[in-house]
């Protein structure tokens, strides 16, 4: 009876798999809903089981049919609220759905598979919750036969009576696969699907046996396909659905007799009363067949099989595209259309190019080249889109994984999933499934404690696991966070030592974070050993290796007792990756952008000060951290050369260290005030060149304290500036010293041959624009080759720096430095700057007494500092920078002369000595006294008419609103206080969170709004706001945080503790707007 039609079978399998994908999560949702049934959901699962059953009957897949049928029964009862889903029931259903999936995947051998266990379990469920009088029905089989005794179907009494409830009619429909289906261009599955839409298929099969028995000419080309179908449609109308000869549609009477619809339409038929659930016998049908079986036996009216001329309305039905798990993909037609359009464009572009070449028209070639460039990028994007799939495809299996695991371990775990719709390349989706499962299992298994332990630790008995995906910087981030017991870094460290992965000495200098990250060290863990001791680390290195292969990066963060967070960064696609091109000894290499953190260049003059030696390792100071350096040439074993500045010959470079110099004390182990000085100078120098690594002027822009180098240093030469690519891979971050930095390019990854695939340092090869091959560096491999397992000192230095930072708790200011006259340095807060443009002095027009330039189709007013402030007049350089600000909703440009640079530093600002209109104060940056420009003051002096007076928001009883302003820096405190007082508010000041808290106790009633700094000694902004929000008296008070530079992370954290808004310090307008709006809202 099996139809060996591959195409149909494949369609059926694909469709069934489609149905099954959601079944699991739906069942879990049903379980959690308990007695509060979501009927829609149950119905959905029910229909899924049902459709699978329908198709299986047709395909002769009896095991599948039986299993799905039994599932359907249970689900039907849940739907009818005859059974309340509890974990046991859902468990049985889940197990059955697993088996069902297996059966479907191996459809051809499914009939041999033993499913009795599931079938019995399901049947037991059905029986146990039935009223007594129905129990027997389940096991009682009735035959439905044609009058000549030919049994067509053998179904359980229960099914029939169930299907007949709610006024349903039961039909026996006989399709002819050849005439009704095939010739009408339909497929049997289509038919079944269509019927499912308006009723329930109880059973179906292909009655090959019936052919001979029911027909006179047995050779006739008919394949009867019988469907037992329950629907609410009445006999008169039902044929509109079936679209076949009425004579082939029969209706099942209450007494199990079968009548052709044509005859019975007038006759009374059906109906099974819902209440009694018993079949009511009504009028006997005209022709009564003989009864055979003991229970109740149906009969069938002679079928007029010869009559098959009638045709229903023919409908063109094309086979709908189906999803295949591996080999086929569902793509939106609009996307295909756009691909087609682009392909057309491409051809046109080629034609244009060919034509231009033939006519030797260089401009035409250029134009069509650009055109092709555009189309290629668009085409690339569109094709990539076709491969994109939502990560939900992977995430969706986790509720089940977590549930099962939690049940087995006796834990209570709640899984939250966010960002299922984030899309990733298909290959990546497939490849991350395993590592993710591993990590999620780890979180549940080792991370989350048992309910008892959790209660003891004062946590909620139910553990939380968060699975989250989001886009960031062109990459996809996946976060797995649990609130479990965390990782004991010390235990981890001692294991690493006992395995000889690192030395005791190394451990001493490691930070907590580094220790935790050792979990990824290759060879760190073998399942049992580590999971017994540390509770974590089952094959984490394997997870990492897998993610590395995908170009992914994994980071771990753990707080003992509070939980663990794993962050995975993945590229959107594998085939084409953005990369940084660098070169060493004339050969180009590509570094995938995923591994890239930043680029920076140390000017020759500063090399000595910036590069240190810790033991054997060379390190560079990077914002207070020590970053280990690896010279690419050394690691991959290329001979270093250098061009001798005297005779211009290329010679072998024999220097052992990047900086040849006398030994110097290791700053790591230095103590006392000396170190402070060291770190801060390191900062100052670093930032000057770092923030814009590719600004070529940065050498000259930076005042060079390194100029004090001795003249006798014979290797002093401009070309010995060092280019460093800062890369990271999982736990490691290091600097790769390269000869040259080139552009960032999108490269196509090509595999390498087998002879070189054993080289650790490369991830593949790519072909550059000029046709030559460049190797893609494998950042993790390189670090291994350089024996850089864990980095001594980097994070440690960070910790030290952080501690010091906490002690002084100064704000780090981002400033833009520029000049007006050659020897006067100015600065403005970087946060206020919209853009910087480079212009020629000659493009400035003087119109109506004001300087303007044409900029983006409008006139941009320009002004110089000297117009308001009493400073020297502007240097007469041809090239000028225009720093564009938005003040009072208008663009305005401040003229400046180079060098122009951005720095990030904590500064002591003197706001008295040099203060004047338009100048907030002064500070010392890089040995120069620098005036800090007050943009708002300047513009107000120049264009007072730009500013509207705004009324301060008053309290409901007409008084001036009071603002509590918390700020530790005098300079800001004075500035910002002035802003607020200018607008007419009363300001109460506090210098840190503690003082602010005390003031709140005193003036709590009066204060309408809090403006607070974040970085403060004693009690910082986060802490203060948290206290505030936890207190019922103040919980509704709006809080605005002031920062110098708000990172996404800070903002998220701020939102968590209850900060309503973030504003940048000194951005007067936005701050005042925000204050105004918040106060307005409160009143």
């Amino acid at each position: 009876m099996t139809i060996q039609d591959d195409e149909t079978l494949r369609l059926y399998i694909e469709e069934s798999e489609d149905h099954l994908t959601d079944i699991e999560n739906d069942l879990l949702a049903i379980e959690s809903a308990g007695a509060e049934i979501d009927e829609e959901l149950v119905n959905k699962v029910f229909r899924a089981a049902h459709s699978i059953k329908g198709g299986a009957g047709f395909m002769g897949l009896n095991s599948i049919k039986e299993l799905s049928h039994k599932m359907e029964n249970v689900l039907g009862m849940i739907r009818e609220r005859e059974m309340i889903p509890n974990p046991e029931i859902v468990n049985i259903l889940l197990l059955a759905s697993d088996t069902l999936r297996n059966l479907i995947q191996n459809a051809e051998s499914s009939n041999e598979t033993d499913i009795s266990e599931h079938v019995e379990a399901l049947a037991a469920l059905t029986t146990s919750s039935l009223p007594d009088n129905e129990r027997d029905d389940v096991s009682t089989m009735i035959d439905i036969s044609f009058p000549d005794g030919k049994t067509v179907f053998n179904v359980a009494q229960y099914d029939i009576s169930n299907a007949g409830k709610k006024g349903n009619y039961i039909y026996l429909v006989e399709y002819d696969l050849i005439h009704d289906v095939h010739k009408k261009n339909r497929t049997p599955l289509d038919l079944l699907k269509k019927m499912e839409e308006s009723g329930n298929i109880i059973d179906c099969k292909i009655a090959i046996k019936a052919v001979g028995n029911l027909e006179d000419d047995t050779i006739s080309n008919r394949i009867p396909f019988l469907v037992l179908f329950a629907t609410i449609l009445e006999p008169e109308m039902v044929n509109a659905l079936f679209e076949i000869d009425e004579n082939n549609v029969f209706v099942l009477a209450e007494d199990m007799t079968i009548l052709p619809v044509a005859q019975s339409s007038s006759a009374e038929t059906i109906v099974i009363d819902e209440q009694e659930s018993e079949i009511l016998v009504e009028e006997p049908s005209p022709e009564r067949p003989d009864i055979e079986a003991e229970e109740s036996i149906s009969a069938v009216v002679p079928v007029m099989l010869e009559d098959e001329k009638t045709e229903g309305v023919q409908k063109d039905k094309s086979v709908t595209g189906s999803v295949g798990s591996d080999t086929s993909l569902r793509v939106h037609v609009s996307l295909l259309d756009s691909l087609m359009t682009l392909a057309g464009e491409l051809v046109l572009g080629r034609n244009q190019l060919l034509q231009a070449i033939n006519h030797k028209d260089p401009r035409g070639i250029e134009a069509s080249g650009q055109h092709l460039d555009l189309i290629t990028s668009e085409l690339q994007e569109a094709i990539m889109l076709t491969r994109m799939q939502p990560i939900g495809n992977v995430f969706n299996k986790f509720p089940r994984v977590v549930r099962d695991l939690a049940r087995n371990l006796g834990k209570e775990v709640m899984l939250k999933i966010q960002g299922e719709s984030v899309e990733l390349d298909k290959t990546i989706i497939e490849a991350i499934s395993d590592p993710l499962t591993h990590l999620v299992r780890n979180s549940v298994d080792h991370g989350i404690e048992t309910p008892a332990e959790r209660r003891k630790a004062g946590k909620d008995a139910t553990g939380q696991v968060l699975l989250k995906a989001y886009h960031e910087a062109g990459q996809v981030n996946i976060e797995i966070r649990d609130d479990g017991r965390g990782i004991d870094h010390n235990k981890l460290a001692s294991i690493a030592v006992s395995k000889n992965l690192i030395s005791e000495k190394q451990v001493m200098s490691m930070s907590e974070k580094e220790k935790v990250n050792m979990i990824f060290l290759p060879g760190f863990s073998t399942a049992e050993k580590v999971s017994d001791v540390s509770g974590r680390g089952v094959g984490m290195d394997v997870v990492k290796t897998n993610l590395d292969k995908l170009g992914g990066v994994v980071k771990i963060d753990s707080q003992l007792g509070e939980g663990t967070t794993l962050r995975i960064k993945l590229p959107l696609t594998l085939a084409i990756i953005p990369s940084q091109i660098i070169s060493v000894e004339g050969e180009r290499y590509a570094i995938p952008q995923v591994n890239l953190e930043e680029l920076f260049r140390i000017p020759a003059a500063q090399v000595r000060d910036r590069i240190e030696k810790v033991g054997d390792a060379e390190v560079v100071r990077l914002r207070g951290n020590l970053l280990p350096l690896i010279r690419l040439a050394d690691v991959i074993g290329i001979e270093r050369t250098y061009a001798d500045p005297t005779d211009k010959k290329v010679k072998k470079d024999r220097r052992k260290n990047i900086v040849d110099r006398r030994s110097r004390q290791n700053p790591l182990f230095k103590e006392g005030p000396q170190e402070d000085a060291n770190i801060s100078t390191g900062d100052a120098q670093f930032n000057a060149s770092d923030s814009q690594p590719e600004v070529s002027g940065s050498d000259s822009a930076t005042p060079s304290p390194g100029d004090r180098r001795k003249d006798s240093d014979r290797r002093y030469h401009a070309s010995s500036a060092i280019n460093i690519v800062v890369v990271y891979t999982g736990a490691l971050k290091y600097g790769l010293v390269v000869d040259e930095l080139h552009d960032s390019e999108e490269i196509v990854v090509k595999p390498m041959g087998r002879h070189i695939s054993q080289c650790k340092g490369y991830a593949g090869a790519t072909i550059m624009g000029d046709g030559r091959v460049a190797l893609i560096l494998d950042v993790a491999g390189l670090s291994q080759m350089a024996n850089l397992t864990s980095v001594e000192g980097t994070d440690r230095a960070l910790d030290v720096a952080r501690e010091q930072h906490m002690k002084t708790a100064k704000d780090v200011q981002s400033l833009l430095i520029f000049r007006n006259a050659e020897d006067e340095q100015f600065a403005v807060p970087l946060g206020l700057v919209e853009r910087i443009e480079k212009i020629k002095r000659s493009s400035i027009e003087e119109v109506g007494g004001k300087n303007v330039i044409q900029y983006r189709g409008a006139s941009l007013p320009l002004f110089g500092v000297a117009e308001v402030v009493n400073v020297k007049s502007m240097a007469e350089t041809e090239e000028l920078f225009v720093v564009i600000f938005v003040v009072a909703g208008k663009d305005i440009g401040l003229m400046a002369t180079p060098p122009i640079d951005a720095i990030e530093e904590s500064l002591v600002i003197d706001d008295t000595t040099l203060k004047q209109t338009g100048i907030m104060g002064s500070t010392i940056i890089g040995d120069h006294t620098t005036l800090i420009v007050d943009i708002f003051g300047l513009v107000k002096t120049l264009n007072p008419e730009w500013f509207d007076e705004r009324e301060a928001v008053q309290t409901p009883d007409g008084k001036v609103s009071t603002i509590l302003y918390v700020e530790d820096s005098n300079f800001f405190s004075n500035q910002v206080k002035k802003y607020m007082e200018d607008d007419g508010y009363k300001v109460i000041e506090a210098e840190d969170g503690m003082v602010a808290w005390d003031l709140m106790q005193e003036h709590g009633e009066e204060i309408a709004l809090v403006v607070t700094d974040i970085e403060m000694p004693n009690l910082d902004g986060f802490g203060f706001v948290k206290q505030l929000k936890e207190d019922d008296r103040f919980s509704s008070l709006p809080v605005i945080a002031l920062t110098t530079m708000a990172s996404e992370e800070d903002i998220a954290r701020g939102k968590e503790v209850g900060i309503s808004d973030y504003q940048i310090k000194l951005d007067k307008e936005k701050l005042m707007d925000s204050i105004y709006n918040h106060l307005k809202k409160v009143n």
């Binding site: 991959i636 290329i638 041959g753 087998r754 002879h755 080289c759 490369y762 090869a765 030559r772 091959v773």
Partner: protein, 154 residues
């Protein structure tokens, strides 16, 4: 082909011949995909020493192997005559760098003799046999054997 008068059995093969150092070697011409002069290679530091580099052959990355070095003969020096024989081995393209290229010789497997005992040792395993023409002796290379990665070496 002047030898067309000669009779060849079904076992006849055509040999592409080339010089590795002084030695004249041959291989089944059906294994050769192309012979070119592409010598613009990208070095692969860390690769085994017999890997001369990689190059781009119409969008595919080809590993170029110095045949002389690989077989333990002399290192191939790049010259005007140096050629790259591109072969397909285990689904990837590999370039064999040879000192110069010779004629295509037609022969019968019957006439191929086993390699003489005195080229035994390391190189012996690389030859399937030896074939004599009027004025020279051609060693027939077992390409797959030559291209085997040396595990643990390089």
């Amino acid at each position: 082909m002047g030898q067309s008068a000669e009779k060849y059995s079904d076992q006849s093969i055509e040999m592409a011949t080339f010089y590795v150092g002084e030695a004249l070697c041959g291989m089944d011409i059906l294994k050769v995909r192309e012979v070119n002069k592409m010598l613009e290679m990208t070095n692969v530091p860390q690769a085994p020493d017999y890997v001369k580099g990689i190059l781009n052959l119409r969008g595919q990355i080809v590993t170029v192997i110095d045949l002389g070095k690989k077989m333990g003969l002399s290192v191939t020096n790049l010259s005007h005559d140096t050629r790259n024989i591109i072969v397909n081995s285990k689904n990837e393209y590999i370039g064999l760098l040879v000192d110069s290229i010779g004629d295509v010789e037609r022969t019968d497997w019957d006439k191929v003799e086993p390699p003489p005992a005195n080229i035994g040792g390391v190189q012996g395993k690389y030859f399937e046999g030896v074939f004599k023409t009027k004025n020279s002796l051609i060693g027939i290379l077992d390409v797959e054997e030559v291209l085997k990665e040396e595990v643990g070496k390089g």
